[in-house]
Symmetry: C2
Subunit: 437 residues, 2 copies
C-alpha cells in the first residue's frame, strides 16, 4: 500500500543531486522510512552491512551535505512528517524531521517559528537542525539550535535517543540537542525535535535606509541593536547587487538616487515605528507598515541570492567575523577576490548584526577554489568563521584547518566516534565525517 519505501534506478535521480546542480552524486537506493523505528532498523542494517548512509531532508542545503557524492544509500526523512498538537501552555510543538519549517510556522495563528529562511517551504526540521540554520531573525531569536527544547535521534547502530518532554530547564546531562545542531549528520540522524514557538510578531515595521558606506551602515545597525527593543532584523546589501536586480529582475529602485550601501531594519511591537525613526534620523529611507509595503522593501534583500546567477554560475561563500572586524570584511571582500581574479564580479549581502557576510562571486578565471581560498584566508586572518550558517558539508572540508585548531579537530573526531556504540564498527558517511573534523 502507498508509495514504495525504497527507490532504485532512475527514481533516485532527484535525490542524488542538490537543487543548485553543483553537487552531483549517485546512489544504489533511496530509503524512505515512515517512523523512527524504521529509521532505526535501516541504520542498524546498513551499519551491520558496512553500507554508508547519507541522511537527506528537503535537499535545500548549500554545501552538498545531503548528496550521496560517494555512492552512499540516501536516507530520506521527508516522510517523518507528523506534527503533534501545539502545546499552548509551553508554546512548543513536536515535529518530525520531515516537517517543513513553513508547516511549523503555520501550526498556530498566534505563534511562529523563530527561524525564517528563504527555503522554508521545502527545508525540513531535521535538515535545519543538522545544519543549524540561521536566516533573517537570528538577532532576535537565535539560530535553529536556540529553538530546540528536546530532540529525538537515532545512532548508527539503531539506538534511539529521545528526550522530547520540552523542559525549559534541565541540568541532568550533556546538552545533546545543541551538540546535534550543526553536526550535519555526522553524529546521529535527527528524527524529531521539540521546538519552542515564539509569539507571532505584531505591529511590524520595515525600513530600508540608504547609507554612504559600510562603516556608517555598521554603526547604524549597532545603534539599532542597542536602542530598538523590538528589533528583529538588520540586513544589508550594496549598490552592486541592487543594480543587477534592477537590470535583470525588474526591481524598481527604492528611490531615485542610488546609495553605496543599504541597511534593512525590521522591528515589531508597541513603539517600533518611533524607535526606528529615532535611529534613522534624517537619512534617506523608505518605511513600510503594511504587508505589501514591507514585502516590497524585503524583496531588495531577499532576491540578492539570485543576483549573481543573472550574470553566470556563481561561487557562493558564507562567512562571519567578530563584530569589530565586520567593516573590514564587508568592504574588502571584493578586493580580496579581484586580487586572485581581476575580472570577477563580487556581490555582498547578509546579516549585519550576526557579523555574517554572504560573498557571491561571478568568476572570470577558473572556479578552481582560488576564490574560496582567498576569502577564507582573509576571514581566518580576521579571526572569523569559514561557515557562518551554511555548514561545512562537502564544500568546505579542505579549508577547515583555517578555522579550527588541531586540538579542536581531534576532540571533534573523538566526540564523533563516541556516537557509535563501541560494540559495532563505526561506519557511515565518510566524506561527511572528514568534513566535520
Amino acid at each position: 500500500m502507498g508509495e514504495p519505501r525504497v527507490l532504485t534506478g532512475g527514481a533516485t535521480a532527484g535525490f542524488a543531486v542538490d537543487w543548485t546542480g553543483r553537487f552531483q552524486g549517485h546512489t544504489p537506493a533511496v530509503v524512505r522510512p515512515r517512523d523512527t523505528a524504521e529509521v532505526a532498523a535501516v541504520l542498524a542494517l546498513c551499519t551491520d552491512a558496512g553500507v554508508p548512509v547519507v541522511p537527506q531532508g528537503g535537499n535545500t542545503g548549500l554545501v552538498g551535505g545531503g548528496v550521496p557524492l560517494l555512492g552512499e544509500v540516501v536516507l530520506s526523512l521527508t516522510r517523518l512528517s507528523q506534527m503533534g498538537p501545539v502545546d499552548h501552555a509551553a508554546a512548543q510543538v513536536t515535529a518530525g524531521a520531515g516537517v517543513t519549517l513553513q508547516q511549523v510556522a503555520d501550526a498556530d495563528p498566534g505563534l511562529d517559528l523563530g527561524i525564517l529562511i528563504a527555503s522554508r517551504g521545502s527545508a525540513t526540521v531535521g535538515g535545519a537542525v543538522a545544519a543549524n540554520a540561521g536566516g533573517l531573525r537570528v538577532l532576535r531569536f537565535g539560530p535553529m539550535r536556540a529553538q530546540l527544547r528536546g530532540i529525538e535521534a537515532v545512532l548508527a547502530d539503531g539506538t534511539v535517543v529521545s528526550h522530547l518532554a520540552g523542559l525549559v530547564k534541565d541540568n541532568t546531562g550533556y546538552e545533546y540537542p545543541s551538540l546535534l545542531a550543526g553536526s550535519e549528520g555526522t553524529l546521529a540522524v535527527v528524527t524529531a525535535a521539540r521546538l519552542r514557538l515564539v509569539p507571532r510578531l505584531r505591529d511590524t515595521v520595515t525600513a530600508l535606509v540608504g547609507l554612504g558606506g559600510l562603516d556608517e551602515l555598521h554603526a547604524l545597525a549597532r545603534q539599532a541593536v542597542r536602542q530598538v527593543p523590538g528589533l528583529v532584523s538588520a540586513e544589508f546589501f550594496t549598490r552592486t547587487g541592487l543594480d543587477i536586480l534592477v537590470a535583470h529582475a525588474g526591481l524598481v529602485p527604492p528611490w531615485p538616487g542610488p546609495a553605496p550601501a543599504y541597511l534593512l531594519l525590521e522591528a515589531s511591537g508597541p513603539g517600533a515605528l518611533d524607535a526606528l525613526a529615532d535611529v534613522i534620523g534624517d537619512r534617506e529611507a523608505a518605511v513600510g507598515e503594511s504587508a505589501a509595503d514591507r514585502g516590497r522593501l524585503w524583496s531588495y534583500r531577499e532576491r540578492h541570492p539570485e543576483a549573481a546567477g543573472f550574470l553566470s554560475v556563481p561561487v557562493k561563500v558564507d562567512v562571519s567575523v567578530p563584530a569589530a572586524q565586520w567593516v573590514r570584511l564587508a568592504s574588502q571582500a571584493a578586493a580580496v577576490v579581484t586580487d586572485v581574479d581581476p575580472g570577477a564580479d563580487v556581490i555582498t549581502f547578509g546579516h549585519v548584526a550576526d557579523g555574517n557576510v554572504h560573498v557571491n562571486i561571478v568568476p572570470a578565471a577558473s572556479a578552481d577554489g582560488r576564490h574560496e581560498d582567498a576569502v577564507f584566508s582573509f576571514v581566518a586572518s580576521l579571526g572569523g568563521s569559514i561557515s557562518a550558517e551554511h555548514g561545512i558539508g562537502a564544500l568546505k572540508a579542505p579549508w577547515l584547518p583555517l578555522a579550527r585548531t588541531d586540538a579542536e579537530r581531534a576532540l571533534f573526531a573523538r566526540i564523533r566516534s563516541a556516537s557509535y556504540s563501541p560494540v559495532r564498527a563505526p561506519v557511515g558517511n565518510q566524506h561527511r565525517d572528514d568534513a566535520a573534523q
Copy 2:
C-alpha cells in the same frame, strides 16, 4: 612572590567543605594556578600520576559538585581573575574562570550580564558555566549556556581547546561551549569564557500580585509571557514561606490580608508599566518603580531560600516539569512529601515561566533520602527533570536513572570518555564521573 600556589594541611579546610556545610570532604592539596598554562600543567601532571582532581570556583554550588568528597586534589580557579576590555562593537567580554558574575555585570555601565543569581558576588564564570546557572532572568536571556560566545578549556591531559573570537554565528564544528555548559567538570576545566552582554535594563517595573491559587497564578504568568514584551522575570512563592519570613526575618507583609499564592512580575522598557497593569487588572497587587520599592518587593522572593533554615536544617530539591504539568507539581509537592513524612514542613518557590520549582523541606522524620525520592519520583512521573538548574553533583547521582534512559546515559559516558586523549589513561574525578551518567 605573592601567595603560595599550593596549600596543604589546615590551609585547605575552607576548600574541602561547601558553604552550606552539607558536603564535607578532605584534600591533600589545593592548587591555585594563575593562568591557563598552569592549569594545563597541573592537569597533565595529575593525569600522568593518576591523581583525581576536583575543579572549584566560588564554591557556591548546591549539590556538592566542587567538594573533594573522595580526597581529590582541589584545583581552585579563583586566581584566573583576568577580564579583558569590553568589546562594545560586539557587546561581549572575555572573562577568566575566576571572575565573579558580579564583576562581569559591573564591567560596563550600559551593559549587563544576562544571568542574575543570588550568589553573584562569589559565584564565578567557570563555575556558572560548569553548572549552567539559571536564576531570575532565564525567561528573558536564557541560562548561562545562552550567554556563551566562546570557551577556553583544558582537557585532562593538558590539551588547551580555545575558541574565544566571539562569533555570533559559526557552523564549523560541534558546539563545544554548549556541551561544557552543565557538564560539571566531567569533560574539561573551563579557564575562560567569551560572554555576550545585554543592554542594561531601563524603565524597570516590579509588581507583586496576590492570587487565590497556583492554577490562577500559572495562567497569569503565561498571560504575562505572551502579552508583556519587556517581561524579565515571573517568580512565585506561597503564603507558607511568606509567613515564616514575616515571623523570623522581620519582613512586613506586602499588604494587610494574606493571599494563598504570590506572583512577582518584572518588566522593562517603554510601556512596561502599562503592559503589566493590563495583565494584572484589578487583582490585589503592589507595584514598584524606584530601586528601593523594587528591592522591597524582590526581598519577599529573594529571601525564600533562607525560609526553611529558620525552622531547622532543610532538604533542598530543585526540579522542573513541562509547562502543562507545572500546576500539579507546585500544588501537590507538599502532599507528596508529607505522604512519606507527615510532620514535614514544605516551602515552595521558584521560576514559573521555566517550569521550575524549588521544594525546600524541613523534615520531621530522618533525612535519609526519602524526601528527595518522593519528589523526584513524582517529577519523573510528570515527565520532568530532577535537576532544573542546580546540577547533579554528588547529591543527585543515585536518582539520575529516573530522568535519563540507559541509552542516554551510555551515550553521555562515551562523550565523557571522548574528552580524554586516547593515548593517556582516563582518570579524573570519578565520583563526579558517576554523577554525570
